[in-house]
Subunit: 373 residues, 2 copies
Amino acid sequence: MGASRVAVRSYGTLRRCVSPRALPLQFARNIRTFAAAAVSPPSKAVVYEQHGSPDQIVSIVDLPPEEIKVNDVCVRMLASPINPSDINRMEGVYPVRPQVPAVAGYEGVGEVHSLGSGVCNLAVGDWVIPSPPSFGTWQTYIVKEETSWHKIRKDIPMEYAATVTVNPLTALRMLEDFVELTSGDSIVQNGATSIVGQCIIQLARIKGISNINVIRDRPGSEEVKEKLKKLGADAVYTESQLSVKNVKSVLSEIPEPLLGFNCIGGDSASLVLRLLRQGGTMLTYGGMAKKPVIVSTSSFIFKDLTLRGFWLQKWMTTDKAKDCRTMIDYLLSLVQCGKLKYEMEMVPFTDFNLALDKALGKLGSKPKQIIKF
Amino acid sequence: MGASRVAVRSYGTLRRCVSPRALPLQFARNIRTFAAAAVSPPSKAVVYEQHGSPDQIVSIVDLPPEEIKVNDVCVRMLASPINPSDINRMEGVYPVRPQVPAVAGYEGVGEVHSLGSGVCNLAVGDWVIPSPPSFGTWQTYIVKEETSWHKIRKDIPMEYAATVTVNPLTALRMLEDFVELTSGDSIVQNGATSIVGQCIIQLARIKGISNINVIRDRPGSEEVKEKLKKLGADAVYTESQLSVKNVKSVLSEIPEPLLGFNCIGGDSASLVLRLLRQGGTMLTYGGMAKKPVIVSTSSFIFKDLTLRGFWLQKWMTTDKAKDCRTMIDYLLSLVQCGKLKYEMEMVPFTDFNLALDKALGKLGSKPKQIIKF
């Protein structure tokens, strides 16, 4: 929380007398306040002052330098993704979100730029991520306490470091924390082309778990199937392929899945429910179709299904999250040895508006957009 | 399973050559088969030969005497309820059901009529219930092994003994086995006028758990509210009373419930979901409205709800059921001391067709129908 709080606070103070776009003019006065202290460079940030459609409300603003206190670390941000939850926070529909005005973004990676005199375990040039993730990562410089940063390996592409927390960790926890799966079991998921979906395929494969994947009926679905199979998918079906009376007949040799993942809702969630084994569990972690999950009475009583949800931001506040840095290191080690990969598109910060339009789906289906600062 | 299996088997054998209604004519020949053995009296039974609308398919048939083997007990049935699940089994829509032709019924109480020579722990005149419950209780005499019968107290009305397993035990297990509730917590349920509903109110009260009850909008709902409050309901609302934006504002001093029970489905299930606390659980054990449960994505992700089902017939096959006779004794002790009661209507076996019509809802809303043999 530190970075965004500090950044937004100083912005909040300043905006009493100036409009955001006039901020640079205030630098001199502002820096005088910190005359005796080390300060960060000014930060260029994606800021929103009210909730609404992201492309209508964000502006890129120069924030004044921040004081670097004795235990603080100033980080030059390298890259940060545009996740659907970032968009929901800007829209104001996310239940936990920063107060406006706010700097957007929730995860990312940066390089240590300068240190307070009490910092022992980080050095200039180290790669770090905010861990747990925190608001306000879409900016060029962030100052927060040493303990807020987790040092990570540098031998991986920065876009993986920037995205390791929200999506891969969601996939890992959903696979580990709800149903005991052992080699030979299987899982089923919709939205298999999402980053979480791609991670589930690969993490399941590592555990010896077969995976059944459902994708939407779209032009190019044969290509998508091939891509997912290359990642390790055991079976990929379009929704229409599964619109048959005896849906389980399509599974052939794959055992009926014990665990299902739903990030779509509506009919697509119903397909996951139909494919699940007696006594199975479906986890909902997204609702891309903006339609509810519909469950028959007999699914509960006779099929004994359990339906639950997963939300990483909530998980981060629980005891289980105390080992999250170890989990991050594990996921990055998989990236390093080529066992975890997913499609992303790096976009320079100067093209932020284009990246945002792509993330908003205005230009059709695009890979995950990663802002490169 | 013993009684119904034996009864249906002999009926099944006979029906190769005679129609059910001709069975009495075959007694002499049949009894000759068992010449050297003790036999039960002939049994008058509610039999169906195919699945369909119960009032179209059942007939009352005289079944021939059964052999009473050394460890068998012959029980003269006293009373047996018509439960919704009995109707579903006759309709053929229940996933586990006896093969046709079958004697209907699943629970009931009887009096020991005669014993095999190896029976040690039961005596003529004892009251017994089939435990676990088993198919084929709608008949006047049942023969099964001693171990299939559970001797119960005789100082309670027979209609409670006849009905203690399916509904009160469902209420008890749902309250005990899913969420840890302690005094001061609360639960919410729809279908509060059902027998399970009435039991939940009283069992919750005994545990110091507040209970919030939802009933349908029907003429006489004020009277229903008073009845349920007399049983121990803390709050009773009609569905329309809860159709307000801020549903939780109606709860006033009752804490938000951790656990909810749904036996209706559709909008009524949605009300239970809305009333549940963050992290709450809803158990579905019925679907009287024949409409599915509809759940928003955010209920799973942000409200962290868990949805599950409960089915007593499945539970009876699990390890947990090994103590079911102790639970039955506990429930009957509550009946004896006036802490567990619910509305029933006793109907003589000669009026079976009327009782069935009432149970099928043909004569409006009626209390649980109990056949008195």
